[in-house]
């Protein structure tokens, strides 16, 4: 009796395993918690002091004096040492008041300065009949010049030196006139900008061939042009502690969930960085989960995509200086959608979308499945296939995991090289790399031809992902899948898939679960996941975003 019971008492190895079973996840959780905390606490250097959306000017250097010579010399002292700051002095015709314009070479619009500033002041001047009214006081002269002599639309006045220098440095032209208290700030930066072009990263066959540019005003214009709607709200924020950049949060007032908009605002206000160079900075500073491999905000160069998202009740963020707008909240299905799905008729649209899902699965799992079948389960593949694989793999010196890693890494390197190389060389590089190296590797007996097929299919599949950042995610995860397949075979692949699923169901983007609307089951929202239902069916906006106005026809 006792011996029977005793025989069921687990051995110490089992007990150690049980202990490890609980200790390792505890350690892992502690580690992740620590990393997350370290990242966040390292970032929040001023934990209690939220940087306000528009920073107050803390200028100490006082106002301009109104005396021409003093002011000019103080301007010169402040910024005159810059090689590109130019000061042009002249006299206004008629009153013979001295005047000076201060501008930055290459940034200010010299045309405007010549034709609309210098010409009226130097050539036309203040006619004798008006001199009396104009010269009555500093104010009247200022008013007169502003009203009669400066035919430009962008005209500001200031009396602070700090503001003057700042404005000049971002491209405005300052006009100092003898006898006037303040300073005119004319025009805007006319730095070199790109024309509106077709977006490079998101090419479409059908659809508007227009993409955002680096200039925020132009981008706002593009948005307005695409979505001519009075409820499109674009509220401006200024981010960056040192380099100030304008940022626009755009949404449809009567569609977007106000709580979502509030959440976006509050997160933006917590941004604390010297200079957000690109919208990627913003994305990384406001995303939900730093440790997740999945992008939680979508970036796009296409105004039509932004408008379509706004109409679904999402929010867009545009930043000055980058053509990439951010769309949020992002859900998993968006990563595999392309605007073209909607422009084409619904049957081809759905077909292409299903194809893309398939390609995503292939891109993620194909090499892992190859490894598990070759190294672990030769019994699960068809006999004839097994035989031909055996024959082609004769003499391959590495186990399949090493073999696959070699090929996958080299193809990733190739891809990276192809992006960096100048355009005429890039494709040639791809051909050289892909064809010649692949062929040579097979001939040299380092890899099997079957693997080359798998790797090529994987690579091509990953190019079908319409969102570049999602493609990167899949590429990273592919390596993880390969490693786990190398350890546990197809069981490992299943575990990996489950792990990814677990992660995805736990992930949220701005309060919206990442896997919406796939789950929870809501038939109404399924019209736009795997298949793209006919437009006449898509009458409702996605429920998951809790739109104020659910009816799409409005």
């Amino acid at each position: 009796m006792w011996s029977v019971i005793l025989s069921y008492i687990p051995k110490w190895t089992i007990l150690v395993q049980a202990l490890l079973l609980v200790v390792i996840p505890l350690l892992l959780m502690a580690l992740f918690g620590w990393i997350r905390k370290a990242i966040i606490s390292g970032y929040a250097l001023h934990p209690n002091q939220a940087s306000p959306p528009i920073k107050e000017d803390s200028s100490e250097s006082g106002p301009l004096t109104g005396r021409y010579d003093t002011d000019l010399s103080s301007v010169r002292a402040a910024i005159g040492y810059n090689a590109d700051v130019r000061v042009r002095e002249f006299t206004i015709r008629g009153t013979e008041n001295r005047a000076a314009i201060v501008y930055v070479d290459g940034l200010s619009d010299v045309d405007i300065i010549d034709t609309h500033l210098i010409t009226p002041l130097m050539i036309h001047g203040i006619p004798d009949t008006d001199q009396e009214t104009a010269l009555r006081s500093s104010d009247s002269l200022q008013k007169y010049i502003a009203n009669r002599l400066l035919p430009v639309s962008k005209l500001n006045e200031t009396s602070k030196l700090q503001e003057l220098t700042r404005s000049v440095l971002i491209g405005q032209t300052a006009l100092l006139v003898e006898g006037i208290q303040g300073v005119f700030l004319i025009g805007a930066a006319q730095g070199k900008v790109r024309n509106v072009e077709e977006p490079l990263s998101e090419a479409l066959l059908r659809g508007p061939r227009i993409g955002f540019t680096e200039k925020l005003e132009d981008n706002m214009g593009l948005l307005r042009m695409q979505g001519q709607n009075e409820s499109l709200i674009m509220s401006q924020f200024e981010v960056g502690n040192r380099v100030k950049k304008n940022m626009i949060v755009a949404y449809m007032q009567d569609i977007a969930d106000p709580r979502l908009v509030d959440e976006v605002h509050s997160r933006i206000q917590r941004i604390d960085i010297d200079d957000p160079l690109e919208s990627g900075y913003i994305e990384q500073l406001i995303e939900d989960n730093i440790l997740s491999p999945f992008p939680q905000l979508q970036n796009t160069e296409r105004p039509d995509r932004v408008i379509a998202s706004l109409l679904e009740g999402r929010v867009a963020i545009l930043l000055d200086g980058t053509p990439f707008a951010l769309i949020l909240p992002t859900t998993f299905s968006m990563l595999l959608q392309s605007p073209e799905d909607y422009y084409e008729r619904w049957i081809p649209g759905s077909f292409v979308r299903i194809l893309r899902f398939l390609a995503a699965m292939l891109a993620l799992l194909a090499p892992a499945l190859y490894i598990s079948f070759i190294s672990f389960h030769p019994g699960l593949i068809p006999t004839k296939l097994a035989l031909s694989i055996i024959e082609t793999r004769q003499g391959v010196p590495f186990p399949s995991i090493i073999e696959a890693l070699i090929m996958e890494i080299s193809i990733e390197i190739l891809r990276e090289a192809g992006i960096r190389l100048p355009k005429p060389i890039g494709p040639a590089m791809g051909i050289v790399g892909g064809l010649i190296i692949g062929d040579a590797a097979v001939n040299a007996g380092i890899v099997s031809p079957f693997l080359v097929i798998v790797v090529a299919v994987t690579a091509i599949s990953s190019f079908t992902i319409p969102v570049y950042s999602a493609g990167i995610t899949l590429r990273i995860l592919r390596f993880a899948a390969m490693l786990i397949a190398g350890a546990l075979g197809i069981y490992g692949v299943i575990m990996f898939f489950l792990l990814i699923c677990c992660h995805l169901v736990r992930l949220k983007s701005f309060g919206v679960p990442y896997l919406n609307p796939l789950i929870p089951y809501r038939i109404i929202d399924w019209k736009d996941i795997l298949i793209r239902a006919p437009l006449k069916v898509m009458k409702k906006r996605p429920y998951m975003l809790r739109p104020n106005d659910a009816d799409r026809r409005n």
């Binding site: 672990f376 699923c501 677990c502 896997l515």
Partner: protein, 369 residues
């Protein structure tokens, strides 16, 4: 109020409740059901036993729902003290938790055995089990809503793969193996009911899940859907397996459903062999059964002691592992499964009815309407 109470966010919809029941129900049973029932009944009529047990289970599930609806927003562990008093409630809760733990352990062990036998010959059990349990832990830490979501993700994959693989087995299907209907009378069919009930245990999760439902009134619907789908799957399984292997072939196979798919090859179709499909969905189903029971047991402890859930989720891992490692071989695993099956039939079939009656007599709990 207390730390174990349900947060407002962690609610589930009616369809999610149904999906939880389905995924919990579908577990290791699919692989062994044909053998256990045929062994007991010795006729091909066991599909009738399956239907009958499906009906019985639905009735039991309805009783559970009726009971739970009297105590809105409370799980079994919270409302039983109101009905029976503290001590009895402790014993009952403890039994329920133990049953959940053992079910969990049996599932894990069966998974490890099958995986070790067919997929990873030679890999140590702990390597198989640990990765599995850790991922399960990662999921359960996310709460019942996350769990419901992943089951919703798994279920369609399961149904599609299942139907594909079993419909392909029509290649070796022979209707004669299912004849004659009721050739040996009704008695063997009745004998087959008991083993057919085991794989149906799953409705009992409603004892806990009802509390999390957004609309507890629709719990009946969830139970109906939650038992119909497994009933359908089991019916297809048993008919295809017996039609493919005959009742004589079924009895000698340890995992008849798996052997059914190993018994034919479709040349020309990419896969040719389809047991990998079944194994894939089956491991996923075991995963869901494991996570549900793991969560339920941990929740039980946390509500008994009125402490937060997280430490118990961690603490239950080694417990389940140790229970899973107790049986020395597959046969003992099956025996353990039978024991816990017997207990759970009584525990989740009889006790809820008793509780319902007592609570009605003592007028405890709110009106179901």
């Amino acid at each position: 109020m207390n730390r174990a109470s349900i947060s407002a966010e962690d609610k589930i919809t009616t369809s999610q409740a149904a999906v939880i029941i389905i995924n919990y129900t579908l577990g290791s049973g699919v692989l062994t059901l044909p053998r256990t029932t045929v062994e007991a009944a010795q006729t091909p009529d066991v599909w009738l036993s399956i239907i009958i047990s499906g009906i019985i289970v639905t009735a039991a599930g309805l009783i559970v729902v009726l009971l739970c609806r009297r105590f809105q927003g409370k799980t079994l562990f919270q409302f039983v003290p109101e009905i029976t008093g503290k001590w009895l409630a402790w014993i009952l809760s403890f039994t329920v938790i133990t049953v959940f733990l053992v079910i969990s352990a049996v599932q894990i062990r069966v998974m490890a055995e099958v995986t070790g036998f067919y997929l990873l010959d030679g890999t140590p059990v702990w390597a198989i089990v640990m990765s599995f349990m850790w991922i399960g832990l990662y999921l359960t830490l996310g709460g019942i809503n996350c769990m419901a979501r992943i089951y919703e993700l798994i279920l369609p994959i399961t149904l599609i793969f299942f139907l594909i693989s079993f419909l392909l087995s029509t290649k070796i299907f022979n209707i004669d193996y299912l004849r004659p209907v009721l050739g040996s009378g009704i008695m063997p069919v009745l004998r087959g009911i008991k083993p057919a009930l085991f794989p149906f245990t799953g409705y009992e999760i409603m004892l806990i899940a009802t509390a999390y439902m957004k609309m507890p009134k629709k719990a009946v619907k969830a139970v109906l859907a939650g038992t119909t789908v497994p009933l359908f799957i089991y019916l297809v399984t048993i008919i295809m397996v017996i039609g493919g292997l005959s009742i004589y072939g079924v009895q000698t196979r340890t995992w008849p459903s798996l052997d059914l798919l190993r018994s034919f090859e479709m040349e020309g179709l990419i896969f040719e062999r389809f047991e990998s499909l079944l194994l894939v969905i089956w491991i996923m189903q075991i995963f869901s059964t494991f996570t549900v029971t793991h969560y339920a047991a941990s929740l039980g402890w946390s509500q008994l002691f009125n402490k937060s859930l997280k430490p118990f989720l961690f603490a239950m891992l080694p417990v389940i592992f140790l229970i899973a490692m107790v049986p020395k071989n597959v046969l003992e695993v099956f025996k353990l499964g039978d024991i816990v099956g017997n207990i759970s039939i009584f525990l989740f079939g009889g006790v809820p009815l008793l509780l319902l009656l007592i609570s009605m007599v003592r007028k405890k709990g709110g009106n179901p309407n």
